[in-house]
Each structure stands twice: as structure tokens, then as C-alpha cells.
């Protein structure tokens, strides 16, 4: 972006054409994006100013739904729960998947075998994961009594202080392999010459990790964190099946709150307002994370390699 492209004379003669492939190539993607993302989004924005129970006539309600959605203590609670899940997911998943990614990037054969085994959760759908964990965590017929270990027979999904961490654990169990895969790829792209040079200069393993691996993984960390943060705004299926937002409102995060408001309580107006809030938060967070990438995104990290 820093260099100004000089238009070819032939292009100049034809008019305001720019370098590169034709802009028409964006049309198929744009059509899909507009049909399935922008139009529904506008519909949701419209619905958020109306009253609709999903059956009868849609009536104009002005800011009523927004007022309900923003002043409702359940919404505030849902925001806090979403934030908690987001922060704890990051704190738990980033270090684990980073270390595992570095570990599995090693060329040794046993590491490759372990990596393959470790990626198995990626093959399971969220619904299957949730149903399996729900059965395992049953205090009477689950893994605690099954294995004869009373410490595992806790009120995992029914204790409001415990349940959030159980949810974060299950999310991590499902998604850490995915992020490990991203980091593995990132680590493998770091040129070996960096490490060789560092070794000649007398750098130890820890120094190599902190001064070469970590800085080189900067964009991998941003990509993976963006997926984690936006993913936690969209966590729905897993939590819906595992806890349905309970006990009480303890795990009712924003997307779940939106669904239950729309399809259980049949208040489409308030649910649409929540949907808009969700999109705004998501866009804001995605922008911030993209910004974190720094001003000089197009500069190569491999200069001198």
C-alpha cells in the first residue's frame, strides 16, 4: 500500500481502470454476502424497532425493544457472562495451544503421532461434544461414579459457581486442537536459519522461544485470537445443549440470550435488538484486533531470512 502504482499507458487510454484482476471477480462473493449477510442484517435492524411475536402482525414499537434489551438485568448479566467466557477462553486457550503448536511443530515422529491423536476433537461436532460431556458430567451415572472416583462426582452443571469453568473447559477441549493446528503451521514457517544464527550467538532454548518464535508468531497469535474472541461471541450450540444457559442465568451468554428471547419467549423485537448489539460488539472487537496487527501489516517478517 505504501507504493503508488503507475498505471500502464494502455489502461490510462481506456479510462479509470486499475491494475490487477477485474473487479467483476468480486461479484459472486458480493452477491452472497449481500443476500445472506447484509439483507438479513438490515431486516434485523428493522425488526429491532418493532413488536412481533413471530405469529401475528408486525407493529411499530420505536425504541421500546431497545429499552427492554438495554435495561434488562438479564442482558447485562449475559454481557458479563460473554465477557467472562471470552477472557477466560483466551487466557486458557492461547498459552496451551501456543505451547502445543510449538511442540507438535517439531519433526520427531512421536510428536506427529501425538498430534494426530490430539486433533481428534476437531472431528466431532459441537452437539456431539456437548451431549457426551453432559453424560460424563452426570453426578449419578457419569464418569465420577463410573470410575469410582467421588471427586469427579461434583454438581458440575448445577453449581452456578462451577458451571462457567466447566463450560470454559469443554470449549477449550473442543477448540484448542484447532488453534494448535494454526500455531503449528505458524511455527513451521519460521526459517530454520533464524535459530541457527541464534545458536551461533549462544542463545538458549528459552531465549530462542521468546526472541524468535514468539515475535515471529505475532500474526498467527492475532489470527487465532480473533477467531477465539469472535467465536466466543458465537458460542451457542455447545452451551445450549450442555446447560441451556442454566442454572438460573449462570451460563446464558449473549447469543443464547438472543435465541431464547426470540424463539422461547417469542419476543422478536428484543431479540433483534440483541442481535444488533452482538454484531456491533463483534465488528468492534474484530476491528480492534486487526488494528493490533500494527500499521505496517504488509511488511514482510522474513526480511533477511
Amino acid at each position: 500500500m505504501s507504493t503508488v502504482l503507475k498505471p500502464k499507458p494502455m489502461m490510462k487510454a481506456r479510462g479509470a481502470r486499475t491494475e490487477g484482476p477485474s473487479a467483476w471477480m468480486v461479484v459472486p462473493a458480493l452477491v452472497f454476502f449481500v443476500t445472506f449477510a447484509v439483507v438479513p442484517l438490515l431486516g434485523v435492524v428493522f425488526l429491532s424497532f418493532t413488536n412481533w411475536n413471530g405469529l401475528g402482525a408486525i407493529t411499530w414499537a420505536g425504541l421500546e425493544s431497545w429499552q427492554t434489551a438495554l435495561t434488562d438485568s438479564v442482558t447485562m448479566n449475559a454481557l458479563v457472562v460473554t465477557l467472562k467466557i471470552m477472557v477466560f477462553s483466551l487466557l486458557v486457550q492461547v498459552p496451551i495451544s501456543l505451547l502445543l503448536g510449538v511442540f507438535t511443530a517439531g519433526g520427531q515422529r512421536y510428536r506427529a503421532v501425538l498430534a494426530v491423536l490430539y486433533f481428534v476433537p476437531l472431528l466431532l461436532s459441537s452437539a456431539a461434544v456437548a451431549i457426551a460431556f453432559k453424560a460424563l458430567l452426570d453426578p449419578n451415572f457419569g464418569m465420577g461414579p463410573g470410575l469410582g472416583i467421588p471427586a469427579l462426582a461434583q454438581n458440575w452443571l448445577g453449581n452456578p459457581d462451577l458451571v462457567l469453568f466447566v463450560v470454559i473447559f469443554v470449549i477449550a477441549w473442543q477448540f484448542v486442537p484447532f488453534h494448535t493446528l494454526i500455531y503449528q503451521g505458524g511455527v513451521r514457517q519460521i526459517p530454520a536459519s533464524f535459530y541457527e544464527a541464534a545458536q551461533i550467538d549462544g542463545a538458549g532454548r528459552m531465549q530462542q522461544f521468546f526472541h524468535i518464535t514468539l515475535p515471529q508468531l505475532k500474526y498467527t497469535i492475532i489470527t487465532s485470537s480473533t477467531l477465539m474472541v469472535l467465536g466466543s461471541l458465537a458460542y451457542f450450540d455447545l452451551i445450549f445443549i450442555l446447560t441451556a444457559g442454566g442454572p438460573g442465568y449462570a451460563t446464558r451468554l449473549l447469543p443464547l440470550h438472543m435465541y431464547l428471547t426470540g424463539f422461547r419467549a417469542n419476543d422478536m423485537g428484543a431479540a433483534s435488538a440483541l442481535g444488533v448489539i452482538l454484531v456491533v460488539i463483534g465488528l468492534g472487537l474484530a476491528l480492534i484486533l486487526q488494528r493490533l496487527g500494527g500499521r505496517n501489516r504488509s511488511a514482510s517478517q522474513l526480511e533477511g531470512a
Binding site: 447469543p255 417469542n266 454484531v279
Partner: protein, 439 residues
Amino acid sequence: MTMRTRTSLISAASAITLALSLSACGSSGPSDPTANTESPSMWALTGSSEDIFRSSVERWNEENPDDSINQEFFANDAYKTKVRTAVGAGEGPTFIYGWGGGVLKSYVDAGHVSELDQFLADNPDVKDRYIPSVLENGVIDGKTYALPNNNMQPVVLYYNKELFEQIGAEPPETWEELMALVPQFNDAGIAPFALAGQSKWPNLMWLSYLVDRIGGPEVFQSILDGEEDAWSDPAVIEALTKIQELVDADGFVNGFSSIAADAGADSALLYTDRAAMMLHGGWVYQNLKNDAPEFVESDAVGFVPFPAVEGGEGDPENVVGNPANMWSLSTDATDEQRDAALNYLKDGLFSEEYTQAMIDSGAVPAVNGIEDQLAASEDKDFVEFVYGLAQDAPSFQLSWDQALSPAQGDAMLANLDQIFIGQITPEQFAENMNATLGE
């Protein structure tokens, strides 16, 4: 706007679209490509009455090829969401399976279900076959919009006879006796009550019965009518207090709020001798027959009405539960679909085989004149108990979560969940729920 912010905006937008689309899910598509789209469609529920619905329609389609019906089955929770969306979009099935109450009223208000009064006037036999108090459940503003299609499902107190023998106790007839049993069972290392707290709706059975016993059916009626501060009625507060006392006395099995009803983990506690009692709907007996036949055959399962509360105003003969499930006919159906559907309601529904199959499954159909068949049933004790309970009940209250509007029902279940786990006080419950009145 600079190039960079535009790119990052687009990538941010595509990232969020991706993330959101990952969570979007749905299922669609025709179930039977060969089926005639002109014939009426029927959506029913999997579970206790599934076999009866299935064989009834199969028999009907064989005998009446001109009026054949397309049938599809759905799981309970998924169905409730799907059917509402479909009906709202004018794509609903000809036969809509329902519970009466608040949801039926919202269909009626939006003009999505047909009035059946003319049909009932033309076919008095149909009207006469039903128990009036159950038929009443399909009446909205004086007009009939739904006809019962299965069994009466009052909530009863199931108990494990062997465990009661073991500690030498009798099933409770009053709340005081019930509370006295709690320490006895706990001392013997047996959980007094099984409860699937994670599913939330089983909690409601306790509240509905206690409020009815303490204050009578009028208390819930004023809630239903949306009277101001109706949830602050002393009967509601006392019922919630009693529930928390029972929880604090370890009345419910350890970790009850982690137990889900859909997998039957609560009934399993009862038949594996880990819990002595369970308050649950009439359909549990049918499930027990499937899941634990030896438990039912050895006559180890007992059942009594919900205990009376000393000094309470409610009649101890009142019951709560689901009077029956119902068929409504969609107004989106074509005339041919509608005529075929009415023929089925007249001749197919509650035919002799239908009624008999239902009784054989351990259920009590919501129809008159079945005393002889019930007496001949292998589940005579249970079916006659349920029949008597429903027949003699001065009031048969529909489950509150169905009777109330969906918005109130949802808030009530979440708040009640918090009562059971001790997160809020009865007064806070009343305050939260009063705010939803009229929604």
C-alpha cells in the same frame, strides 16, 4: 476512509459473518419425496405416544387411500420452536400438535388455527367421546380450536415400594409427613427425591402443586389474568419457602441441578433404588415400562397424589399436569386437506384400536366409557388411579409454562431454577415475575 481501514473493516465484517454463520444451523427438506403434497400433513412428537400416532395413521392411510396423511415426528423442544416458526410463516402442517393454553391462544389471535365448533355440532359423537374438563382445554374465548389426541397426564408422586419397605415407611399424605421422611431416607443413604433440575420444567411441578394446595387454583388464575402483583400472593411466597426448606433439608438427590430429564436420568434414579420418590408427569409410567420393565412388572413402582398441605385452602383432590395433547387444524390448509383431516378426526382418532393401544401402553386416553377396558388392563392399578384422579379432580390445571405466555413462562422457569439453587429469595422471585405480568 483510507485503504487500510477499509480493508480491515471488510476483513472484520467477513470474520464476524463467518463466526456467526458457524453458529447458524437448521434443518429442512422434505421427509418423503414421493408423498402427495395435496394430502394433509401431520407433525407429532417422538416419545411415549409415538407408536400409537404412527400405527393409527398407517392404518388410516391403508383404509382411506383418498384421505391419506403425511406424518412426521420431532423431538419435544425442537418441535416447539419449529412449529411456531412454520405456522408464523404460513408453512405449518395441517395437523398442529399442541398443549392448549398460551400458545394455542397466540395461534388463535393471529388467525392460524381453524374453529371446530361447526364440525363438533355436525358430529356430536366426537364431542361426546371426550371428558368435558379435558375438552375444555382446547376452548379459547368460548370457541373450540383443538381436540385431545392422547392421554391425560396428571403429575403424580411416584415412589419405590422396596425402598419404603426397607425403612418401614408409608408414602406421605401431608406435607409434614413428606418432610419427616426426608431425614429418614437420608440416614439410610437413599436420596428422598429424584429431580431433573437441569431441565427446569420438572421444578415447576413442585411450585404448581404447592401453590394449588396452599392457596387454591384462584391464585394461579389471577396470575393468568395478569392482576397486579399477583406473584406476590402469600401462597406463592409460602410455596417457594417450602421448596427452599426441602432443598435445604437435602430433600433432592445430590447434584439434582445437573440432571437432565431428556435422558431419563431422573427416573433411572428411582428404578435403580437410589432415590425413593419422584414428582413427575403421567407419561413417566409409559417410559418406565420401556426403560425398566422388570421394575414395573415386579410391582415395585407406587404412585400417590401430591400430599395435602395442612391449613391450605386448595382441595387436595386438585391436580396439575397436562390434561392431554391436542390436534388443531391449520387455516393454511387447502379445502381438500381440511376435509381429509376432519374425516380423520371423526373416524381415525380414538378409534377402538387407537384407544386400546393407548391403554395397553399404560396411558389413560382422555375419553369417556373406557372403565371396562381399564379394568382389563395389565396396568390396571396405574390407569385406574390416573382415571380416578382426573375424573374426581375439581380442578385440572394445565402446566403453568404452557398456560402462560411464552415470555412469562421462560422467565418463570429461569427464576424458579434460581429458587432451587438458592440464588434468590421468594420475595425476589415475586418481584422479578411481577415485572413480567401482562407480557
